[in-house]
């Protein structure tokens, strides 16, 4: 294929370099045919380096529409047909055959091209896959081969770029255990976190300055795996310096709020607050504004109630998200709605655009709070 340029130009080179006032004959190629295996893909110039460096792939299962992924973005692939006759002329050294070929010849008539449009990654499927078999304490007794996914399995099944997949795994607090990406059962995480907090009280460690090795070893002694111990620090804390972790006030508090509401269901706000404040570890401060996107509050008579409604449990594509939201409540004010839509990302659409598309905004008077209802 990489033969050096011959003396007289032929093929595509000839077509592209006809001298003024001259002509070349155009023929059907000796191998002319439908060549369904030759496709045309329209691509932005700025994506070419990704292609050349082989960082681009098509992803999707046979029953899904293929998407094209670069390292960081996901694109829908659409076939755009044309009624024009698009004659494709390859360079002379491609599809070359032994007999002397015609000057410039057409290998196929292209029925159209494939175009790409940036889209949001299909992350819901990742949630579904990983939720099927969360990591639990007693897992080792059971056979656990089914419903487990390694990185490559996820790439094969989830239509998202590598970067988007990695960030989604982070958002889901997934962890790689024995090569498989897992989300950890919430109840199990609860045990780990409580053990960690307990140990730090017993040993008089400060939750804002935990020595990684000491903490991990103490959890391992209690029968937790090293990975899970480390994962607990990652999920509820942040590294402040080498081997030193600080537990995150908000994330720890939110965890306890979720557990309380999981166990009790809908609660009077008062009794919820009471229990919540009693559950969070000493030195940490729980406040309701931490629970944006985690709980909804409603007033029944003079009584205020609170119940769990987590943004993470909602679909990530806008149409389904809004439909689920309006199923929950027919009217939303902005303060309540915002935490449930701020994570939506649709390439080419701003959040105002999203609201315009999926909601009806009403404002009884100019200075009243706007209210959003379904379209």
């Amino acid at each position: 294929m990489e033969k050096t340029e011959s003396c007289c130009t032929k093929g595509a080179e000839a077509v592209l370099n006809v001298s003024p006032n001259s002509s070349i004959p155009i023929s059907y190629h000796p191998l002319f045919g439908p060549h369904d295996d030759i496709l045309l893909l329209e691509l932005d110039e700025k994506l070419l380096p990704d292609v050349i460096n082989q960082r681009v792939s098509l992803r999707g299962e046979p029953n899904e529409d293929a998407v094209l992924c670069t390292k960081s973005k996901t694109y829908a692939v659409k076939f755009v047909g044309t009624s024009n006759s698009v004659f494709l002329v390859p360079p002379s050294d491609q599809f070359a055959i032994t007999e002397s070929p015609p000057v410039a010849s057409v290998i196929k008539v292209a029925p159209g091209t494939m175009e790409i449009v940036e889209i949001a990654p299909k992350i819901d499927k990742l949630k579904t896959l990983l939720s099927k078999n969360p990591y639990r304490y007693d897992e080792d007794d059971e056979m656990h081969d089914s419903g487990l996914y390694q990185w490559d399995d996820l790439v094969n099944r989830v239509q998202a770029s590598d970067d988007e997949l990695k960030s989604a795994l982070r958002v889901l607090s997934a962890v790689e255990i024995n090569g498989y990406w897992r989300i950890v059962d919430d109840k199990y995480m609860d045990q780990v976190l409580k053990t960690l907090i307990n140990n730090s009280i017993l040993s008089d460690w400060s939750l804002s300055s935990l020595d990684e090795n000491t903490v991990v070893e103490s959890l391992v002694e209690e029968g937790y795996s090293r990975e899970i111990a480390h994962h607990c620090l990652e999920v509820y804390g942040s590294k402040t310096s080498e081997n030193v972790w600080e537990m995150d006030n908000k994330r720890v508090c939110v965890h306890f709020a979720r557990r309380i509401l999981f166990v009790n269901g809908k609660m009077k706000t008062e009794s919820f607050m009471e229990e919540w404040i009693s559950k969070v570890p000493g030195g940490m401060v729980a406040s309701l504004d931490m629970l944006e996107g985690e709980v909804l509050m409603e007033n029944l008579g003079i009584q205020s109630w609170v119940y769990a409604f987590s943004v993470f449990s909602l679909p990530s594509d806008p149409a389904n998200r809004f439909s689920r939201l309006f199923q929950e409540r027919s009217k939303w004010d902005w303060k309540d709605l915002h935490p449930y839509i701020r994570d939506l990302s649709v390439p080419g659409l701003t959040s105002d655009g999203l609201l315009l598309k999926y909601t009806r905004r009403t404002q009884p008077t100019a200075d009243a709070e706007p209210v959003f209802t379904a379209r």
Partner: protein, 141 residues
């Protein structure tokens, strides 16, 4: 499944293909229908002025020009890889994971003929073998 886009072009070395695009279809006369290979479609002629072309097909002449594409087109070839794949746990995946797409060229410009064909009164170019040049005609849509 994942289909990798394979590219062996290296930096700025993708082979450029050409497109000749016209409205309507070129119809081959019935006598040549089954031996279309090597058949001449027409004569592409660049006129004296910059990047304007005529394409003479049978008794028809089209005029057009060379236009750079707004976005480049990659020419991809679907390859079926026959070598043994590692056995996947999932049976339905085996077939599909043997496909790869190879970039075999790039298209940056096309010669577009968007006018209706003009009938040539006289015989077409005598330099071209008559039987061949007369064997195609353009059917405008």
């Amino acid at each position: 499944m994942e289909i990798k886009l394979k590219c062996s072009c290296g930096e700025s070395n993708c082979r450029e293909w050409a497109i000749i695009e016209l409205q309507g279809v070129v119809e081959v006369q019935p006598a040549f229908q089954d031996r279309i290979q090597n058949l001449q479609i027409g004569l592409l002629c660049r006129t004296s002025s910059q990047e304007t072309y005529t394409f003479t097909v049978g008794y028809h002449e089209l005029s057009g020009s060379k236009i750079p594409l707004k976005k480049p087109l990659l020419v991809l070839k679907k390859n079926i890889i026959k070598s043994d794949m590692e056995i996947d746990q999932n049976d339905d995946q085996i077939d599909s994971s043997r496909v790869e797409l190879e970039v075999i060229g790039i298209i940056r410009q096309r010669i577009l003929f968007k006018t209706r064909p003009k009938a040539l009164i006289s015989e077409p170019q005598p330099a071209v073998k008559e039987k061949v040049s007369a064997s195609c005609r353009v059917v405008a849509k």
